[in-house]
Structures are given as structure tokens and as C-alpha cells.
């Protein structure tokens, strides 16, 4: 019963603190929300990049496109034969840099193509036979890709029946370059915002402690434990931080929803868009990390003051 009464006192003291410092509390919550939105956005850009990269490259580093009906390359004199395909496989499998490889037939290529260009008129004007079959190759980390592509092209040239050996990274170089710049920029901004929001949270707590300096002294003098003195400040930080996280979660989910609607209106698919669950996972992880930092901030801020009041 005494515990419940103390908890009730803590809740009332927290409410009083928050009301008295409502402007600082609102600013701190807003700043925390902004920092979390930027941090989550930067993490989501990373997720989105990986997701698109996986989709477009089929999780492969190198693709060997074989000759199809519509191939215009001078290397192709017609559709690749079964013998050529077998010879290609033998050459690829013999390379020590290759960790894995798989064959994508026309049906699989068509499926991926129609997903990627769903709703586009290009799908209506083609069929599966126009798409090249391919070998998808995954390399050992650190492999010199350029040298590998040159060597493999030379080897496959002895067999013929292939259009191009393509380094997927080069194929998506423009996309990765923009995505990486975006990610780095967002992370830098997020780190700055996180620093500012932490400083704001600390300032909020310090102001609150200074405003209630006399209360703390009197509480200490009449036998209130340090834990009980700290409790309202802990609650205050918890409430402000939770409000910031709730705002951030709403903003991130709202942003994803807007992106989804824009994709739908443009006739595209949102299947490649990062899921809400991924966003919420990031927000939850940041919330837990922030709670730990907030708890530490309160303890450090109050430690000196409690030592002074003794």
C-alpha cells in the first residue's frame, strides 16, 4: 500500500514538473522526434537499398546474359544452345572465386521482369522468349571483379553463346551512389540531431532539477531516499522521450504510407517498399537505446546535486 502511495506521489510530482516546464518538455519531445525520424529514415534508406539491390541483382555479383531471340549483340548468332549452356556452367564452376551460382531460365526472368515493370506497356509488347537466360554468380568477398569479368569473358568467348558478362555493381552504380550519399547524409544529420536532442533532454532535466532544488533539499532532509527523489525526474524523462518516440513512429509510418500511395498512383508496385514492421523495429530499437541513455543522463545529472544536498 505504501508503495502504491509513493508511486502515486511520483506520478503527481512528475505531472507538476512537466506542467511547470511544459515549453522545454515540448521542445525536447519535438527535437527527439525529429532526430528519431532522421535516424530511422537513414536506417530505412539502407534497408531499401539492400532490398532493391537484392531484387535487381538477384543477390548476385556477376550476371552472364546468354543469347535470346531478341539479342542484338555481335557475339550472338542465335539462341544459346544446350551444349553451350553446359560448357558455360563447367567454366563457371571451375573458377575458385565463385562461391555459388545458379541458372535463371526464361520463365524466371519473365516473372521478375513482369514484377518489376508491372502495369507498364513494355510488358504488353514482349513475351518470355525475348528475355535472355542467365547465369547468376556470387563471388568470394574481396574478389577483383573487373579482372574476373575480363577473364570469364575471355574463357566464355571460346565457347560463344553469351551476350555479356556484367558486374551488377556497375549496372546499378548510379543508384548505389545516390543511395549511399543519401544514407551518409541522413546518418550525419541524425547523429547531429541525436546529439542536440540529448543535450535538450539534459537541459530539460537540469532546469527541472534547478527549479526544484529546494524540494530536493527538503526531501533529502526529511528522509526521502535518493531513489524516490530521482523517480519523478526519471518519469519526466520517460514521458518526454516516449512522446518523442510516438511522434517519430507516427511520422515514419505516415511517410511510408505517403510513399505507398504515390507508388500506387504512379502505377507501380509497393512490393519493393520497405515494410512498416521494419520501420517499427528500428523505432523500437532506438526507443530502448534512448531509454538507456536517458536513465544514465538522469543519474549523472542528479548525482552531483544529491551529493551536494546530502
Amino acid at each position: 500500500m505504501r508503495g502504491i502511495r509513493r508511486l502515486w506521489w511520483t506520478v503527481r510530482a512528475t505531472s507538476r514538473n512537466l506542467w511547470n516546464g511544459r515549453v522545454s518538455a515540448a521542445l525536447a519531445a519535438g527535437s527527439i522526434a525529429l532526430a528519431l525520424v532522421l535516424t530511422t529514415a537513414s536506417l530505412l534508406i539502407g534497408n531499401q537499398t539492400d532490398r532493391l539491390s537484392d531484387h535487381w541483382t538477384g543477390r548476385a555479383d556477376i550476371t552472364v546474359y546468354l543469347c535470346a531471340r531478341a539479342s542484338a549483340s555481335p557475339r550472338c548468332g542465335g539462341v544459346t544452345t544446350d551444349e553451350q549452356i553446359a560448357a558455360h556452367e563447367a567454366l563457371i564452376a571451375a573458377r575458385p572465386e565463385v562461391t555459388s551460382y545458379w541458372f535463371e531460365n526464361q520463365a524466371d526472368a519473365w516473372k521478375a521482369f513482369t514484377e518489376r515493370f508491372s502495369g507498364s506497356s513494355i510488358v504488353e509488347n514482349l513475351d518470355a522468349s525475348a528475355l535472355p537466360e542467365s547465369y547468376r554468380i556470387k563471388l568470394v568477398d574481396g574478389t577483383d571483379r573487373e579482372a574476373f569479368v575480363d577473364d570469364l569473358e575471355e574463357q566464355l568467348g571460346t565457347v560463344g553463346g553469351f551476350e555479356i558478362v556484367q558486374d551488377q555493381r556497375n549496372a546499378l552504380a548510379g543508384f548505389f551512389s545516390v543511395a549511399n550519399r543519401l544514407r551518409t547524409g541522413a546518418l550525419a544529420l541524425a547523429a547531429l540531431q541525436a546529439g542536440i536532442s540529448l543535450a535538450l533532454l539534459t537541459h530539460l532535466l537540469r532546469s527541472s532539477v534547478t527549479r526544484r532544488n529546494k524540494d530536493i533539499r527538503v526531501m533529502s532532509l526529511v528522509g526521502t531516499s535518493h531513489r524516490q527523489i530521482r523517480a519523478p525526474f526519471m518519469f519526466e524523462a520517460l514521458v518526454v522521450y516516449t512522446a518523442g518516440v510516438a511522434l517519430a513512429a507516427g511520422a515514419v509510418l505516415g511517410g511510408l504510407n505517403v510513399a505507398r500511395n504515390m507508388l500506387e498512383r504512379a502505377g507501380g508496385t509497393d512490393a519493393l517498399l520497405v515494410a512498416d514492421a521494419a520501420a517499427l523495429r528500428h523505432v523500437a530499437a532506438l526507443y530502448l537505446a534512448g531509454l538507456a541513455v536517458g536513465w544514465l543522463t538522469v543519474r549523472l545529472t542528479l548525482r552531483t546535486r544529491l551529493r551536494e544536498t546530502n
Binding site: 500500500m1 505504501r2 508503495g3 502511495r5 509513493r6 506521489w9 529546494k214 524540494d215 533539499r217 527538503v218 526531501m219 533529502s220 532532509l221 526529511v222 528522509g223 526521502t224 531516499s225 535518493h226 524516490q228 544529491l306 546530502n310
Partner: protein
């Protein structure tokens, strides 16, 4: 002195206590022995800087001794941590010269505040606030703010706050330091009333005449030790 008190339990016992304030060359207290028995009312006098307030600080756990032993209500508090200090202060109330009231809360709230944070339930809290205000003669000022009260009245509120917690010991550090003679006597009367009800009281005062008139057991602190002991006859 020890023979005189041997049959009674010591509420406050300091043995060979030395305390040097940070940055000070000389110790404020040096080998100080002091015993206050259960239910006693003892006054500490001495010049400014003689160490009276240091003794109160040591007994309330606000300061720690460099050497010697301190026992309060039979428990060793020589080296005391934050949790045990909090526990001690629920049984040993301290009254200060500066009152230490919360300026933005009413008199009633100031008294109730200490009860509330110590988990005293609402009905009991209201009853104790009423009793404490009645005792100090301020039942009508319950809704006033501290700034609306005179110094004497504020000190009476500080006494009421201490009393409401029903402590075993009251330590009062120059409680009349900011008050005129009439209000000073009033505070000492209140402390006497509490003492007669069984509370042990240790008070510091620079006003030798006042403690002389009240006939208190008086210890004079000089050069960091108890130099003289007198029991005055009440002169009023």
C-alpha cells in the same frame, strides 16, 4: 558524566569524534565526546565556528566524521550511506535557522509534503497536519504561503513539519538565530513541550541567556571539545 547516564539509553552518543572541514587547516571537532540520553533536552552553546552546527550535521548524517564513533538511537552511523541516512532522517528530524520551507506551497502543503513522500495515507496525513498546526498555534494559517508569515511563524511551521513525522529525536540548529527574543522563547517552549512528550531534543544556540532561563542541560563547545557542562535552574 558517563556514571550519571549509565542506566539510561543514549539517544545520541559521540566518542572521540574528529571532523576537519575540507580546506580547513585545523579540525573543527577534535576528540569530542558527547552523550544525550533518551528523553533529554540538551543545549549546545559556544562561539561562532566552535563546531555546534558540525555536531548537528554529524548527528543528522549530513557530515561524516574523520575519526571516532557516532551512535544514534543505538545504531552506528559513523560511516553512513544514502539509504541508511534516509532511514535515519525519518526518525531524527532537523530544524534549521533558515526554516527550509517550500516557498510555492502553502503551510499545510509544506507539512503534508514530508508526510506524503514518506507514504503516510491521506486521512492520517490530514490529521497529523491539523495536530501539528494546533501544537504550534497556527491552525488558521494553513492556506498561507511561507512569505506571508513572519520569521517566528515560519520557524513554528518548521517545528510543526518536524513534529508531524513523529521523530524520536529533534535536532535544532540555531532555530532562534533569525528571531527576536519573544519568538525565540516561543520556539524553545515548543521544543520543551515536545521534550516533555518524550522526544529527545538537541539544540544549538548562541543565546546563552535564553538557555539559562529555561534551565536546560547546557554543554559549551570550545576548541572542538565539550568544555563545560552546566544544568541551569529555570529562571522564568
Amino acid at each position: 558524566m558517563s556514571t550519571q547516564h549509565s542506566r539510561t539509553r543514549a539517544a545520541i552518543l559521540l566518542e572521540g569524534v574528529r571532523r576537519t572541514h575540507p580546506g580547513a587547516g585545523q579540525p573543527t571537532l577534535d576528540g569530542l565526546d558527547l552523550r544525550v540520553d533518551d528523553g533529554e533536552f540538551v543545549a549546545l552553546t559556544g562561539e561562532s565556528g566552535s563546531g555546534k552546527s558540525t555536531i548537528i550535521g554529524l548527528c543528522s548524517g549530513r557530515q561524516q566524521a574523520d575519526a571516532g564513533n557516532i551512535r544514534i538511537l543505538g545504531r552506528d552511523i559513523t560511516r553512513i550511506g544514502a539509504n541508511r541516512r534516509a532511514e535515519l532522517r525519518r526518525r531524527v528530524a532537523t530544524i534549521f535557522q533558515e526554516y527550509e520551507l517550500l516557498p510555492d506551497r502553502t503551510i499545510g502543503e509544506n507539512i503534508a509534503f514530508t508526510l506524503e513522500i514518506n507514504g503516510i495515507p491521506g486521512e492520517e496525513r490530514r490529521r497529523r497536519v491539523d495536530e501539528a498546526l494546533e501544537l504550534v498555534g497556527l491552525p488558521s494559517r494553513r492556506e498561507a504561503l511561507p512569505e506571508q508569515l513572519s520569521g517566528g511563524e515560519q520557524q513554528r511551521v518548521a517545528v510543526a513539519r518536524a513534529v508531524a513525522l513523529r521523530p524520536s529525536i529533534i535536532l535544532a540548529d540555531e532555530p532562534t538565530g533569525n528571531l527576536d527574543e519573544e519568538n525565540g522563547e516561543l520556539i524553545f517552549d515548543l521544543l520543551s513541550t515536545l521534550n516533555q512528550a518524550g522526544t529527545t531534543v538537541l539544540v544549538t544556540s548562541h543565546d546563552v541567556n535564553l538557555v539559562t532561563r529555561l534551565g536546560l542541560r547546557t554543554l559549551r563547545i570550545h576548541d572542538g571539545r565539550v568544555r563545560t557542562y552546566r544544568r541551569h535552574q529555570a529562571g522564568r
